[in-house]
């Protein structure tokens, strides 16, 4: 059985070089709808579990190939459509929203800084439940303080900042102008960090965190809207 695997959408232009091979070594194909280009491959479905890692890397490489040249809207791996017709219907329905987001994000990339407990600090110390909670609250305050410091430090180059708390730390997403990634790294890497915290800076990534809700989860939004009527 085969399915249509979607990789990413982008503002299609003649100068953009497209990758030839994608997941499962299948040819990468282009579907165009107006100015919107969308890359896809016909793949064997479901994925062979042992090949998942390889598939994830192949998927990433296709997305990265285009992202290195222009802004993209990535799909998540495992975003499969029944057939080309289903993909075409999806594109027709969402084309406008995709293009609006692509226009908004065309000059930006997403940089990230994750702040997490330094090795050895994560689960250190048992003590009482109260002590644990106090420690956790203190760690959270430190992370929040650092997140604020990042906001301040990148204010001159970050157009938008989003912070998400996770169980393993705080993730700070910053929308940075393409080409200014090293400025971001420089600004964030020199910020003093509390002793018990570590940081990891990564990017550039596609600005997925900054996509509009309608683009990020089109069906959920349309279902919500239908339910509200």
């Amino acid at each position: 059985m085969t399915r249509i695997l979607a990789y990413c959408g982008f503002h299609h232009a003649a100068q953009i070089a497209l990758p030839a091979i994608g997941v499962d070594a299948q040819p990468v194909q282009l579907m165009s709808a107006g100015c919107l280009g969308l890359l896809w491959s016909e793949v064997e479905w479901p994925f062979v579990p042992d090949q998942m890692q390889r598939s994830a890397l192949a998927f990433h490489q296709v997305v990265r190939h285009v992202f290195d040249q222009t802004a993209i809207i990535p799909f998540r791996l495992l975003s499969v459509f029944e057939d080309q017709q289903a993909l075409r219907a999806f594109v027709a329905e969402n084309q406008e929203r995709f293009l609006v987001d692509l226009e908004r994000l065309k000059d930006f990339v997403q940089m990230e800084c994750v702040v997490y407990p330094a090795p050895g600090q994560a689960q250190a110390g048992s003590g009482t439940g109260k002590a644990y909670l106090e420690k956790k609250a203190a760690a959270m305050r430190s992370s929040e303080g650092f997140a604020q410091a990042v906001r301040n430090a990148v204010a001159h180059l970050g157009h938008e900042v989003r912070v998400r708390e996770g169980k393993n730390g705080t993730r700070i997403f910053v929308l940075v102008e393409r080409g200014r990634e090293s400025d971001f790294r420089q600004a964030v890497s020199v910020l003093p960090l509390p002793e018990h915290l570590s940081r990891r800076i990564s990017g550039p990534w596609p600005a997925a965190e900054f996509l509009s809700e309608q683009v990020k989860a089109p069906q959920i939004v349309s279902q919500k809207n239908a339910g509200a009527k």
Binding site: P49, M52, R76, L78, S79, N168, I220
Partner: protein, 84 residues
């Protein structure tokens, strides 16, 4: 609604080593790549559970991603501690 099909994603300790990304000047950990390809971007219909050492990683059943790699790893650490 029943749960989706469950598959296992191999994520052994070695996988945390850095890998060279095509076209990239810098090294990005495989874990970060997995996190992004699974957790960032457009979610569409699907019905699939990926499991990491028995912990659901991503569930694309009702179009909703319930957990992330991050959560799965936390659960995995707890599970490993429990076993010790």
């Amino acid at each position: 609604m029943g749960r989706g099909r469950r598959i296992r994603l191999s994520l052994m300790p070695n996988d945390f080593e850095s890998v060279e990304v095509l076209g990239g000047e810098e090294e990005v950990s495989l874990l970060e790549i997995l996190d992004h390809v699974l957790n960032s971007g457009v979610v569409i219909h699907g019905s699939l559970v990926i499991s990491l050492a028995g912990v659901d990683l991503v569930y694309l059943g009702l179009n909703v991603v319930l957990t992330s790699v991050e959560t799965a790893l936390t659960n995995l650490q707890i599970e490993e501690k429990r076993k010790k």
